[in-house]
């Protein structure tokens, strides 16, 4: 176990944005006030996270415990290298998005509310990787889920509400899945720590598997895993651009983070209790079961990436295209996590690739969403079919988008190249691990999906920036300064990451794998890997060529404007099921309603009879004033009489029972 170092920093990282949230809510409409608090909140978080680097880089885990806050056990922050990397990305990109939002939000309503909940969401999101046990993680996860709802429905249009509802209810459903899974896990293992559990060494029983499935489901909803991705292409585009950037760039990553933590960390043998030499064989039962889960996860990942890319191809709304692309990219990450679990002790390449891709995708997807925001801000247009020649009108954005797109398609020397190559290595290794033929097919789908990615980004670049402008295009202004800074910072970091993959690998991604139970030899192999072998470059060239070919093919056949029928979507079946459930409920309750009506009528009759009977025996007060006062209809006065009598009796009884002793007379 790494050494532990107690520090307030994780708490500070969470509380600073929370405090900003409270401050902003006090004066929602005061522009300088809310802007400065938003900046203070993001900068403070970044600073608090960055200050942890010293300890974390020395292999120490930062711990902070408060007993019985929110969880009945310990409210724990525990930051290891993996969590630190996450928190760092979140805090950094959040700051860039906040800077971008300062100018961007000028054309939106309810700005105060937006910035307030922007900060609250930051508090939740950054808390997820810092959390030290499952319940603490759940707390931040739920804060993030609920607070980001406000960002999703920000525009308050009908579309936003319908997307927001889906987001909210699926989010709550996911949260409840997590809660159940964690409850099951705690009941079985007796602990909530995010660490390999000695209790699992004997292999898993049904409850453990159920707990794992529920937790992966809960995190998977947030990650946009097929078939639970339906909220994502609707919710991400309706939010204002800075919020969509964070939803797509960071918040879905918390889902991936959770999946990796559960599958590759909690459900692995404990390095402390098993000697390193026998880790591979020492817990073969557990490894085998997790490996089966990993295989399923690989295929979920493959399906997610393929479907995401397929639906991205036919989108004409910029933000929808990017959201579908997010689904596709999260598929890569889930596949990496799956490979990690599938290969168990030898899974360094899978987890490492997934982590690296999380890191990269966070950068390029937030940049792309911010750029989409810039396009909306300046042209008021989201539909690709009505854009064109933006490279001349907004060159800065064009360059930023170009850098991000080259990254996402995996062009060598841009940031996506390293992680995609690693993930490609991972899937090839997974095939070679046991030569399961289906994984060979999976590798081919991987390549095809990568080509699809190239294809839809060519579409985006071509339609929006490169082709001559169509008629009656709306007028274009230039980007405000803050937006330029926000996008520029991210683009610059991407270039730097892209040209120094070995630095990132050895300083950020590599150390983050220390927390997992991995073969040290393979870990070293992963760290020393040469990314620029001819075979890898060839693979990229193939992908690029294939993508370009597909682009021309699709453009000719006009497949980009294809409309898929409504009944093909999962949502359609969800709605039909809902309608069916309502009808079923109506049928079930019908006899009850009937019985209720029958009894209701019968009882009414009985009441009436009994009452008229009682009224018959009621005395008539006559004309006397005293009798009129003491009447059953004068319930107030009668009650007082009864009470007075009662209290006299009670007082006497009390006096007889206690009074004598009380006043010392006995």
């Amino acid at each position: 176990m790494p050494q532990e170092y107690i520090s307030y920093l994780p708490l500070a990282a969470v509380l600073i944005p929370l405090f900003s949230f409270l401050m902003i809510t006090f004066a929602l409409e005061l522009v300088w006030w809310r802007n400065s608090w938003a900046i203070i909140g993001s900068t403070g978080t970044l600073a608090a996270v960055a200050m942890m680097y010293q300890q974390v880089s020395q292999g120490e885990a930062i711990i902070f415990r408060i007993p019985m806050i929110v969880t009945p056990y310990n409210f724990v922050f525990r930051v290891d290298e993996f969590g630190f990397l996450f928190a760092l990305i979140i805090a950094f990109i959040w700051l860039a998005a906040t800077i971008f939002a300062l100018d961007y939000m000028n054309h939106e309503q309810n700005r105060g509310r937006f910035f307030a909940f922007f900060m609250l969401t930051l508090s939740g999101t950054v808390g997820v990787p810092l959390a030290g046990d499952l319940l603490t993680l759940l707390l931040f996860f739920e804060i993030m889920s609920l607070a980001s709802y406000v960002l999703v429905v920000h525009t308050q249009t009908k579309e936003a509400f319908s997307a927001g509802n889906l987001y909210l209810y699926l989010g709550i459903f996911g949260g409840m899945c997590l809660l159940t899974g964690m409850g099951l896990f705690y009941y079985n293992a007796g602990t909530l720590a995010i660490a390999p559990q000695a209790a699992l060494m004997e292999g898993l029983d049904g409850l453990y598997i159920a707990a794992a499935v529920l937790m992966v489901l809960g995190f998977g909803i947030k990650a946009g895993m097929v078939p639970l991705h339906i909220w994502l292409p609707r919710a991400h585009p309706v939010a204002p651009a800075p919020a969509s950037a964070l939803l797509s760039g960071l918040m879905i990553k918390t889902g991936a983070y959770g999946i990796i933590r559960v599958v590759s960390m909690i459900y692995t043998p404990d390095q402390a209790s098993v000697p390193v030499e026998s880790l591979a064989a020492g817990a073969s039962a557990l490894w085998e079961q997790v490996s089966g889960g990993g295989y399923i996860l690989i295929w979920i990942g493959i399906a997610t990436m393929f479907f995401g890319a397929a639906i991205a191809l036919i989108q004409n709304n910029v933000k929808k295209l990017l959201a579908c692309s997010s689904i596709s990219q999260i598929g890569y990450i889930i596949m990496g996590a799956g490979v990690g679990a599938y290969m168990g002790f030898d899974g360094a390449m899978g987890i490492g690739g997934a982590t690296y891709h999380i890191f990269n995708h966070a950068f390029f997807k937030s940049t792309l969403f911010l750029a989409a925001g810039a396009i909306v801000y300046l042209t008021g247009e989201l539909d690709l079919r009505r854009m064109g020649n933006l490279k001349a009108k907004m060159p800065f954005t064009a360059v930023v988008v170009l850098i991000a797109s080259l990254g996402i398609v995996g062009m060598p020397l841009f940031n996506g190249y390293a992680s995609k190559t690693l993930l490609h290595h991972a899937i090839v290794e997974a095939y070679e691990y046991q030569h399961v033929y289906s994984l060979f097919i999976a590798e081919k789908i991987f390549t095809l999906t990568s080509a699809g990615t190239v294809c839809y980004f060519l579409k985006f670049l071509f339609l929006a920036f490169w082709r001559p402008a169509p008629e009656n295009i709306s007028e274009v202004k230039t980007e405000p300064l803050m937006m330029k800074i926000g996008m520029g910072v991210l683009a610059l970091s991407m270039v730097l990451i892209g040209i120094s993959p070995y630095f990132v690998l050895s300083k950020l991604v590599g150390p983050s794998l220390n927390a997992f139970s991995l073969d040290p030899y393979l870990l070293q192999y992963f760290l020393d890997i040469n990314l620029f072998y001819l075979a890898d470059l060839g693979a990229v060239a193939l992908v690029l060529g294939l993508g370009a070919g597909l682009f021309f093919l699709f453009k000719r056949t006009n497949i980009f404007n294809l409309q898929i029928p409504y009944w093909l979507g999962i949502e359609f079946y969800g709605i039909q099921t809902g309608k069916l459930a309502v009808r079923l409920w109506g049928v079930i309750t019908l006899p009850f309603i009937f019985i209720q009506k029958l009894f209701g009528k019968a009882f009414d009759r009985i009441y009436e009879r009994v009452f008229s009977l009682l009224q018959g025996v009621d005395y008539r007060p006559g004309d006397s004033a005293i009798f009129r006062l003491i009447n059953i209809s004068n319930i107030e006065f009668d009650m007082i009489l009864v009470l007075v009598a009662l209290s006299i009796i009670l007082a006497v009884a009390f006096y007889l029972r206690f009074g004598l002793t009380l006043f010392g007379m006995q």
Binding site: P67, M68, I69, V70, T71, P72, L135, L138, L139, E142, I143, L146, V153, Q156, F161, G164, N165, L168, Y169, I172, F173, G175, M176, C177, L179, T180, G183, L184, Y186, Y187, L207, W585, Y607, I635, E636, M639, I640, L643, V644, S647, L650, A653, F654, R657, F658, L662
Partner: protein, 493 residues
């Protein structure tokens, strides 16, 4: 400090005396009555706190009030579970009365209202601290009688029908309790509450014990609104909101729950309960209540009725916790007594504030209300999140313990029930929040406080309480665990 042991008697008699004195204040003299009743309840609350403090430092004690015949006694006892109920009721009553002074300002018959409001407090205290079934039964009946005028307060046809329904259901339940009481007394020879129970299944026939147990469950189940017996609760929403809030979310329904838990653990005891083999019957019945009530709640458009069905569902959690016969489950149930009391009273107070300020009773009229009443709706949101059971609001923690309890008793199906109910809760609470904050409506920002301060302040204090209890579990969990252990294990008093 010798005379402090008479505090339980004081807690019962003081509100009673206060009620009688407030009867002397003329109807129109609000300027005297409002401070008077607030001070009476404030002193009651303070006395409750002193009692709890004394109790936790010196342990429990009992007071014999009157002996009818040997074996039949009117007796009070301070012990952990009594402290829980008395503490919750005593403290929340103060906030409810404070709120009432604002809410009732424009209502009629305020004198009658306050008299019975205080009398109900007195009877609730009696229920909480009763030491045997007879005393419990006595105060329980009086509580029904004294809350009846509150239910029919409006005096219109609807209120009278609701009152009639209330009284018939309640007396039906009381009759069942009486049968159970007689059966118990006949077979066990005592009505005392004792740790680990007084019932020995070896004496008397199993059938009779089962009948007695079911009589108690259904008898108290009327007030606890177990599903076939719940109909009085939604119709009793015709009462003024503070009455609904306190009596139908906190005192009356919780007295039913209190009775069920008492009968289960202090009369029958865990050994006998397991011997009866009726645990899963009760838990199953309650599970149906939880789910069906939640589904019905979704179809209600009147805010208070929706809250009433939510109450029915949430009360099921507590009974479920007791019916699981596991220590952790019982801890969860007890936690939910406090947590639900706080959350539901907040929700009702918000509903009442909305009615007072805007006159809107239906959920479909609440679009955009967040502009006019941001604080009220924020409080409503927090309480709704707590109801769903999402951290960091206090509803989460009881749910966690209930899940653990269900697992401990080996019935995963109840976990599914709890989670399903949480999702349904989300489905009927979130639309209100969404409509209030994000939909466009004809509400605009007003000058000055959004609601009368006497209503707004209790709402804010209570919602802060929800958050504090939700984040600082040191305040509740250890105590509830002790109480659950006290109820669960046998031993001396």
């Amino acid at each position: 400090m010798e005379y402090l042991i008479y505090l339980p008697v004081f807690l019962i008699l003081f509100p009673l005396a206060g009620a009688l004195l407030s009867a002397l204040i003329p109807e129109a003299n609000d300027r005297l009555r409002n401070p008077f009743v607030v001070i009476i309840t404030l002193i009651s609350a303070a006395a409750t706190v002193v009692t709890l403090y004394y109790f936790y430092h010196f342990g429990g004690w009992e007071l014999l009030i009157h002996q009818i015949t040997p074996g039949l006694e009117i007796k009070l006892r301070m012990e952990p579970f009594a402290a829980l109920f008395a503490g919750t009721a005593g403290i929340l009553w103060f906030f409810a009365v404070l709120y009432s002074t604002g809410y009732m300002a424009h209502e009629h018959n305020r004198r009658r209202y306050y008299i019975f409001y205080l009398l109900s407090l007195s009877m609730t205290m009696g229920i909480a601290m009763s030491a045997n079934l007879l005393t419990l039964y006595l105060f329980y009946e009086f509580l029904t009688i004294f809350t009846f005028p509150l239910v029919i307060h409006e005096g219109n046809r609807e209120a009278k029908a609701a009152g009639m329904r209330y009284i018939i259901y309640s007396f039906l339940g009381a009759g069942l309790i009486l049968i159970g009481l007689i059966l118990t007394f006949g077979n066990a020879g005592t009505l005392e509450f004792a740790r680990g129970g007084v019932v020995d299944l070896a004496t008397g026939s199993l059938l009779q014990w089962r009948v007695a147990f079911l009589c108690f469950i259904f008898g108290f189940g009327v007030k606890a609104a177990i599903m076939p017996l719940h109909a009085w609760l939604p119709s009793a929403m015709a009462a003024p909101t503070p009455v609904s809030a306190l009596l139908h979310a906190v005192a009356v329904v919780k007295s039913g729950i209190f009775g069920i838990v008492r009968v289960m653990f202090s009369v029958f005891g865990i050994t006998a309960l397991i011997g009866l083999e009726l645990g899963f019957f009760v838990a199953g019945l309650v599970s149906v209540t939880i789910l069906v009530a939640s589904i019905i709640a979704m179809q209600q458009d009147v805010l208070k009725r929706r809250l009433a069905y939510s109450t029915i569902s949430q009360l099921g959690y507590i009974t479920l916790g007791a019916g699981l016969f596991s220590l952790i489950g019982l801890t969860g149930g007890l936690l939910h007594i406090i947590n639900h009391a706080l959350l539901k009273i907040t929700l009702f107070f918000c509903a009442g504030a909305i009615i007072t300020v805007t006159g809107k009773k239906n959920i479909s009229d609440l679009n955009g209300l967040g502009k006019q009443m941001p604080l009220t709706m924020a409080a409503f949101t927090v309480a709704a999140i707590g109801m769903i059971g999402i951290p960091p609001v206090n509803g989460f923690i009881s749910k966690w313990y209930l899940i653990q309890g269900s697992l401990e008793s080996g019935a995963i199906i109840f976990v599914a029930v709890l989670i399903g109910s949480a999702l349904l809760n989300a489905a009927y609470f979130m639309p209100i929040v969404i409509a209030a904050f994000f939909k466009e409506g004809d509400f605009t920002k007003q000058k000055g406080p959004e609601a009368p301060l006497s209503m707004l302040i209790p709402i804010l204090i209570l919602v802060a309480g929800c958050l504090v209890l939700g984040t600082n579990l040191q305040l509740t969990v250890p105590f509830m665990h002790d109480i659950a252990e006290y109820l669960f294990y046998s031993g001396g008093n």
